[in-house]
């Protein structure tokens, strides 16, 4: 029998409503799992068991009083780049080691009002920059499926926590694949919604035109439940979209007959591991078996997407991270004058990857180089968007691997930033174009490591995206769990 902490939020909500369990029991189940595995997984930077128990008790009162929402009483983990009032928020960086936000980010604020239970803040690559979690200033997260491997990044702690049963679901952020890629490597569902659908208020900025709050869950339905709570216009985020509230679970009927599915060129190519290709082949066949029409789609400018991303994201980062100046919050290293103080503070407080991206972005934005790098990258962004608009004239959704490889070994790619960046090749286009995309577990490779299938839909096509993902999830019926869960 599975422990409470291994069930989906949907199953748990049903049991809570039926009076078969309590939020206190579910929360204790998660805390017990954390005590059992956390010293090996290291998914969390800060744990909040005390407040979690208080929140669970209040949630149980709400459930008793019949005023519970779908998320009431369900324990969640939140990536440490999302501000939580009174709970330390480090962004995985030494420069914010003691930062305690005086306000809540909008996503947590919404969940908190709905009676969710916060277990703690999850480990991540410093300022969400990375694909392996090795860039955290507090040490790497270990993949629950194989503790010597990375969980992916940058939201690796959130992905690992859900995979290991330390949390029922989790929030992450996705700027170039940081929800979908770790979801793929950890065998859970990772949703990156349309840019602007979820408010970014209180998401500590990395690259503002790309940053998106996303979710880690054990089912597509759970992702739809969370999205229904999180989506919506926020006057604190001028880029948030004005959309009427929607129940994203409404269309999960398993019906995909006649739907046009485009398989992204390169899915079965040389750069993709053979086992990943095989699992993608099976997934595509399953969609065909359900009555979807399958075709191949060519996106001619994809090769340039990675180059554009690694100019645009660092450029925006170099500007956003200028705020860490030792004046208003975070680390300060004293100097003779303010400029010296700033340079010393930043030199001591940022890790190698953040420094690399600040330097890259500063160079790409500097006089004489701006047009050749940043300006050209913005034009390529237009070409990528046009490619996808053309593709969606012929197809309703697109399918590809989430990541070309399964989880790699800790340390394997750390000295080769370019190779690390290449692992984002399938996820970056959705950030450049604002489109929603989801990664669902497709199966395990020969070594027993999870492989993710990515589905992408047009901007604001979440209903269609989730319908296809849910239908495919039912067919795949992925029910494997990491050994660590049973141990």
């Amino acid at each position: 029998m599975r422990a409470l902490c291994d069930l989906t939020a949907g199953e748990l909500a049903g049991r809570l409503r039926a009076g078969e369990t309590t939020s206190a029991d579910i929360t204790e189940s998660c805390l017990a799992r954390i005590r059992a595995v956390e010293d090996r997984v290291r998914a969390f930077l800060t744990l909040t068991p005390g407040t979690a128990k208080e929140q669970a008790a209040r949630a149980d009162e709400r459930i008793q009083a019949d005023s519970a929402a779908a998320v009431t009483g369900i324990p969640i983990a939140v990536k440490d780049v999302l501000a939580t009032r009174g709970v330390r928020t480090t962004c995985g960086s030494k420069i914010l080691e003691t930062y305690v936000p005086p306000y809540d980010c909008t996503p947590w604020s919404k969940l908190s009002s709905a009676g969710a239970v916060l277990l703690g803040k999850t480990n991540c690559d410093e300022f969400a920059m990375g694909s392996s979690n090795e860039n955290s200033a507090y040490g790497p997260v270990h993949n629950p499926w194989d503790l010597e491997r990375v969980p992916g990044g940058s939201s690796g702690g959130s992905a690992a926590a859900v995979a290991a049963g330390e949390a029922v679901w989790a929030l992450g952020t996705d700027t170039g694949g940081s929800v979908r890629q770790p979801a793929s490597l950890c065998g859970v569902v990772g949703l990156k919604p349309t840019y602007g659908l979820i408010s970014r208020y209180g998401l500590i900025a990395f690259a503002s035109s790309l940053d998106t709050v996303g979710t880690f869950t054990r089912s597509v339905r759970d992702a739809a439940v969370l999205l229904s709570v999180l989506a919506g216009r926020d006057r604190m985020d001028a880029t948030s979209l004005d959309r009427p509230p929607l129940d994203y679970t409404a269309d999960l009927d398993g019906e995909v007959r006649g739907l046009r599915v485009g398989v992204v060129e390169g899915t079965f190519g040389e750069g993709v591991e053979p086992d990943v290709r095989a699992i993608l082949r099976t997934a595509v066949d399953r969609l065909g078996g359900l009555g979807a029409q399958i075709g191949e789609v060519s996106l001619p400018n994809t090769d340039y997407a990675l180059s554009a991303y690694y100019l645009i994201a660092p450029s925006e980062a170099s500007s956003n991270l200028a705020r860490y100046d030792g004046v208003r919050y975070g680390l300060r290293v004293e100097g003779g004058d303010s400029v010296e103080m700033m340079a010393r503070t930043r030199g001591a407080g940022f890790g190698p990857e953040v420094k690399r991206r600040i330097m890259l972005g500063t160079y790409a934005l500097s006089a004489g180089y701006y047009e050749a790098y940043y300006g050209q990258a913005q034009k390529v962004r237009t070409l990528i968007i046009r490619d996808y608009e053309r593709a969606f004239e012929s197809f309703d959704v697109l399918v590809s691997p989430t990541s070309p490889t399964t989880a790699f070994r800790i340390g394997e790619r750390i000295d080769d930033p370019l190779a690390m960046y290449l692992s984002d090749v399938f996820t970056i286009p959705a950030n450049l174009s604002g489109m929603p995309a989801i990664s669902i577990p497709g199966g395990l490779d020969a070594a027993g490591l999870p492989v993710g299938v990515q589905i992408t839909a047009p901007v604001l096509g979440e209903a269609q995206l989730l319908r296809v993902a849910d239908a495919l999830e039912r067919e795949i019926a992925f029910d494997a769990a990491p050994h660590i869960v049973g141990a």
Binding site: P102, Y304, V327, G330, I358, L360, Y363, Y373, Q378, Y421
Partner: protein, 96 residues
């Protein structure tokens, strides 16, 4: 060809202290990354408009009504140094 970068100049622009070892490593790594990134120059013709935001919005305004904002103590609660109700910093004059 890896791109040649004046690391000291860029570090100064970024207000970032780097050790000699960091500078040497960054010079090599950024040169390679930029060589790859320079491919964007091949792709986009002059008549392609740039995209800053995939879903552009403009003139996003809210009603001009006073609402509570962050309280003073909250805003100062993380300050590395303060004097009364202000952030305290070393002198501003730049020493070159």
């Amino acid at each position: 060809m890896p791109v040649e970068i004046d690391i000291d100049h860029v570090a100064r622009l970024a207000r970032l202290d780097l050790t000699d070892e960091e500078k040497a490593r960054l010079r090599t790594q950024l040169g390679l990354i930029l060589e790859h990134a320079a491919k964007v120059g091949e792709a986009a013709a002059a008549d392609v408009p740039p995209t800053a935001y995939a879903i552009p919005r403009s003139n996003v305004l809210r009603p001009d009504e006073p609402v509570p904002s962050l309280a003073l103590e909250g805003a100062l609660s993380n300050a590395p140094d303060r004097e009364d109700d202000r952030f305290k910093v070393p002198r501003i004059t730049e020493v070159e």
